[in-house]
C-alpha cells in the first residue's frame, strides 16, 4: 500500500467534503448572514483544492480576494439591506423543485461525461517557484488582458458608484 497516496486521497476527501457541505449550506441557510459565512467556508475549501493542485499563488489570491474582499463586500451588502431578513418565511421560491430536478439531470449528465472521457495526465513536474514566471507571462503573453483588467475595474467601480450613491 502506498502511504502518500492514501494520505493525499484522505486529505482530498476531507477538503472536498468541507467545500461541498459549506456550499450546500450556502444555498440552504435561511439567514443570509449565515449563508455568507458558509460561503466563506466554501472559499476556504476551494483555496485548499488549489493548494493540492500546486497553484499556491492562486490559493493565496483566493483567500485574499474571495474571502478578504468579495465575502466582505457581500457581508457589507447584507448589513446594509438587513431588517428584512424574514426568518419566518421560506427563502426558497416556488420553482425550486423544477430547478432541483433540472440540476440533478445536469449533474448526472456531467458526471457521466466526466467518467467517459479519457483524460490525459500529462502534467509536468513543478520543481521551482512559479510566481516570477507568472509575472513574466502577465507582462508579455497576457499583456493586453492585463491592461484591460484595469479598465474593467475602473468601469465596474464607476458604475457601482453611480448605482449605489444616494
Amino acid at each position: 500500500m502506498n502511504i502518500p497516496s492514501v494520505v493525499a486521497q484522505l486529505v482530498f476527501f476531507l477538503v472536498a467534503l468541507l467545500t461541498l457541505i459549506s456550499g450546500f449550506l450556502t444555498v440552504t441557510f435561511r439567514n443570509v448572514f449565515h449563508a455568507g459565512l458558509a460561503l466563506v467556508g466554501t472559499f476556504f475549501g476551494v483555496a485548499a483544492l488549489y493548494l493540492m493542485l500546486e497553484a499556491e499563488f492562486l490559493a493565496v489570491v483566493q483567500v485574499l480576494i474571495y474571502i478578504g474582499a468579495i465575502a466582505v463586500l457581500i457581508l457589507f451588502a447584507i448589513m446594509l439591506t438587513r431588517g428584512l431578513m424574514q426568518s419566518e418565511t421560506s427563502n426558497i421560491n416556488k420553482q425550486w423543485a423544477w430547478a432541483a430536478l433540472a440540476i440533478a439531470v445536469l449533474f448526472l449528465g456531467m458526471f457521466l461525461i466526466i467518467l467517459q472521457v479519457p483524460w490525459v495526465h500529462s502534467g509536468g513536474a513543478i520543481y521551482r517557484d512559479i510566481v516570477p514566471f507568472l509575472g513574466t507571462q502577465l507582462l508579455t503573453t497576457y499583456l493586453l488582458p492585463f491592461e484591460v483588467v484595469s479598465v474593467l475595474l475602473l468601469a465596474a467601480l464607476v458604475g457601482a458608484f453611480i448605482i449605489a450613491r444616494e
Partner: protein, 108 residues
C-alpha cells in the same frame, strides 16, 4: 501530491459545486443569496481551469494559462459582485425589498 489523485475527482467536485451554485441562483429569493450562488459557480469553473492547467500542460511552469485565466475570472467575479450588489442596494433603497420575486416592475 497531485499525481496521487486522478483529475476526474477534481472535475466531479467542480461539477457538484457548479450545480449547487446553480441551484442557489435559480431557487433563492434573496437577491444577495442569488449572487452568492453565482460566486459558487465561478469558483467551480476556476477549479476546472486550474485542474486542466495542472494535468494537461506538459510544461506547467512556462505556460501558466490556467492560472492566468483563473486570475482573470476572479477579477471578473469581483467586478460582477461589486456592480450586482450595488444594484441590490439601489433596489433596496427604492423598493424596500431584496426579494427577487417582488422586484417585478418590468413584468407585465
Amino acid at each position: 501530491m497531485t499525481l496521487y489523485i486522478p483529475i476526474t475527482y477534481y472535475l466531479i467536485i467542480a461539477a457538484a459545486l457548479f450545480c449547487i451554485g446553480l441551484f442557489g441562483a435559480l431557487a433563492r429569493k434573496n437577491a444577495i443569496a442569488v449572487l452568492m450562488g453565482i460566486e459558487l459557480m465561478l469558483n467551480a469553473v476556476n477549479i476546472n481551469l486550474v485542474a486542466f492547467w495542472r494535468y494537461g500542460s506538459p510544461n506547467p511552469i512556462s505556460n501558466q494559462a490556467g492560472i492566468v485565466f483563473a486570475l482573470f475570472v476572479i477579477t471578473l467575479a469581483a467586478a460582477e459582485a461589486a456592480v450586482g450588489l450595488a444594484l441590490v442596494i439601489a433596489v433596496y433603497r427604492s423598493r424596500d425589498t431584496v426579494n427577487v420575486e417582488e422586484i417585478d416592475l418590468l413584468k407585465w
